[in-house]
């Protein structure tokens, strides 16, 4: 859902110009008019979707996507939570990268998730064994895995197999360059969904939730 209201477009403009104060002013104005969940649904999510689409279309740079996500995350941390978490459900969720120190994708997705009102475990950089073990221990139902290298993307298959052996039915959402460049790869490694960008990743979570 995209709302192209003036407020959203103004907010997007402030975000991509990395104007923290300007973005905060618009955020506070919308927040004062309604609940946090309404602010998320009508301002944050549409703005991040516009910015994500802008990146796909080549009008927004990855650096702006990153900084916008961080600003939205910061704005969300400065307001008391209300019913934002409630409307998203209480789904045990986690995010990780596999054996890779390139964490930009994970940080962008994490910021978007927090800005969207989701709570989740951040497992950081882990091996497939460590990830599967943590998923089982924490009874995680959805795990997001961000990758940069093909080698890391192929390790998702190991995670899938380890989870199956452990009896876990956790859904796996993957993202990152290898999956963008090979559209069949996410299915090959046994993932349940693929997000080409942060917005798609959030949408993929919703899809997985609806299938539970």
């Amino acid at each position: 859902m995209i709302s192209n209201s003036k407020e959203v477009l103004d907010f997007v403009d402030r975000l991509v110009r990395i104007d923290r104060l300007g973005a905060e002013k618009i955020f506070n104005a919308v927040r004062e008019q309604g609940s946090m969940s309404r602010t998320v649904d009508q301002l944050i999510l549409p703005a991040l979707e516009v910015i994500g689409n802008g990146w796909e279309e080549g009008t927004v740079a990855l650096a702006q996507v990153y900084m916008s996500s961080r600003i939205c995350e910061e704005l969300m941390t400065h307001v008391p939570p209300d019913d934002a978490a409630e409307h998203l459900g209480n789904l045990p969720m986690a995010i990780a990268v596999l054996e890779d120190y390139h964490q930009l994708g994970k940080i962008i997705i994490s910021a978007c998730l927090r800005a969207s009102g989701y709570s989740f475990q951040d497992y950081g950089r882990v091996t497939p064994e460590e990830l599967a073990q943590k998923i089982v221990e924490d009874s995680i139902e959805i795990v997001l895995i961000s990758t940069l290298m093909l080698r890391s993307a192929l390790l998702v298959k190991e995670v899938k197999d380890l989870l199956a052996k452990s009896g876990s039915s956790a859904r796996i959402v993957v993202g990152g360059a290898p999956f963008r460049f090979d559209p069949q790869l996410w299915q090959e490694v046994g993932a349940d969904a693929m997000g080409a960008n942060a917005t798609e990743a959030v949408a993929a979570i919703a899809t997985c939730m609806s299938r539970k």
Binding site: V16, A61, A63, Y101, Q103, R151, F181
Partner: protein
């Protein structure tokens, strides 16, 4: 032997030089950035393969003969650029080494960063020795590619991309400091490779794209590129990994680079129309997807790329970056076979695509 069409067979060097001067050589030159695959040729582990210059040379020569391409290189991985700075490199059994934990964590780390001498680092010394040995064996018949990570992209490995983006926005003073140190290091690394026998230097910069970097930092990156490349005394190529190049192609041309390495996000037809006679295109087979290509798909993709960008010269068929370990020998042979089948000038299959 390249006797299939009317043009006389050329050496790889002559073929590449013709492409760079926007003339049609005997056939489209082929560049496959094969690094770790040399270990497979010798039956060695990847780390062991890179432990001796002799192994790398033997691996490159065997692959040159097997895949009949037109470039050799002694490159291990971009991550090795960290070793002179004391950074961590992580080795794998089934892929190129990767950079470890970022080592620039504080303002003081950046302020106290010194320009290391790359020729004092064992892995770099081995690479220089391999270049020299390749030069001795191949003379001027086959181009030897040297590689540097650009001063503008190196901080991604040194401090992590997220921290680097924030630094660009929030600490222009530290950004300048990093550029000074990295540029001096980059020039020393390029100079050493040229002296060892490298024919050309590939300036690897994944950040020089409007898809990755926003203004005014993108302009700063091109300033660094222009300044740095002007001081490298050899033909130069810019490679942006998988980032789209068309939106910044005029800036690339302004750097004086002879070649632009392009990825699959670029439209070869549009790019060729823009670059014709001005900049040679190197690309853009999908190295990630390549591991699942059938022989038929391989031939179709090679044929299409040649038809789109080959006419008139100025084109080198290549992958869109380093070819992953998981791409099979059969597929690489199919790429080579298709290039030798469809790449001869004058091209005769353009209308079929």
């Amino acid at each position: 032997m390249n006797l299939k069409k009317g043009k006389p067979a050329m050496t790889s060097m002559e073929r590449v030089q013709a492409a760079l001067t926007h003339q049609e050589p005997d056939r489209v030159p082929l560049s496959l950035l094969l690094t770790v695959h040399g270990a497979r040729e010798l039956g060695l582990g990847i780390r062991e393969y890179y432990s001796k210059a002799e192994y790398v040379v033997e691996g490159q020569l065997r692959m040159l003969e097997k895949y009949r391409y037109d470039f050799v290189n002694a490159l291990c991985a971009a991550a090795l650029s960290l070793e002179p700075f004391g950074g961590e490199v992580i080795w794998y059994e089934d892929g190129a080494p990767n950079s470890g934990e970022p080592f620039l964590k504080t303002e003081q780390d950046i302020l106290s960063l010194q320009v290391p001498d790359p020729t004092c680092t064992p892995s770099f010394v081995r690479m220089l020795r391999a270049i020299a040995m390749l030069k001795e064996k191949l003379g001027d018949e086959v181009p030897i590619t040297g590689v540097v990570v650009s001063p503008f992209s190196l901080p991604v490995l040194q401090m992590g991309f997220p921290a680097y983006i924030e630094l660009m926005y929030e600490r222009p003073d530290l950004f300048e400091r990093l550029m000074q140190v990295n540029q001096e290091f980059c020039l020393a690394a390029a100079d050493a490779q040229i002296k060892a026998g490298a024919t050309a230097i590939c300036y690897f910069d994944a950040l020089l794209s409007s898809n990755v970097t926003a203004q005014p930092h993108l302009a700063a990156g091109f300033n660094v590129a222009r300044e740095t490349l002007a001081q490298i005394n050899s033909p130069k190529a810019i490679h942006m990994a998988t980032a789209p190049t068309l939106p910044v192609i005029e800036d690339v041309i302004a750097t004086g680079s002879a070649i632009i390495g392009v990825g699959i996000l670029d439209d070869l037809v549009k790019l060729k129309a823009t670059c014709r006679g001005r900049l040679t295109i190197l690309g853009n087979l999908n190295g990630i997807e390549m591991r699942r290509w059938t022989p038929e798909q391989t031939e179709k993709n090679v044929k299409q790329a040649i038809a789109e960008a080959g006419p008139g010269g100025g084109f080198i068929l290549a992958d869109n970056g380093e070819i992953p370990w998981q791409v099979s020998e059969e597929t690489l042979l199919a790429v080579s076979d298709a290039t030798h089948k469809w790449g001869h000038y004058p091209l005769c299959h353009e209308a079929e695509i």
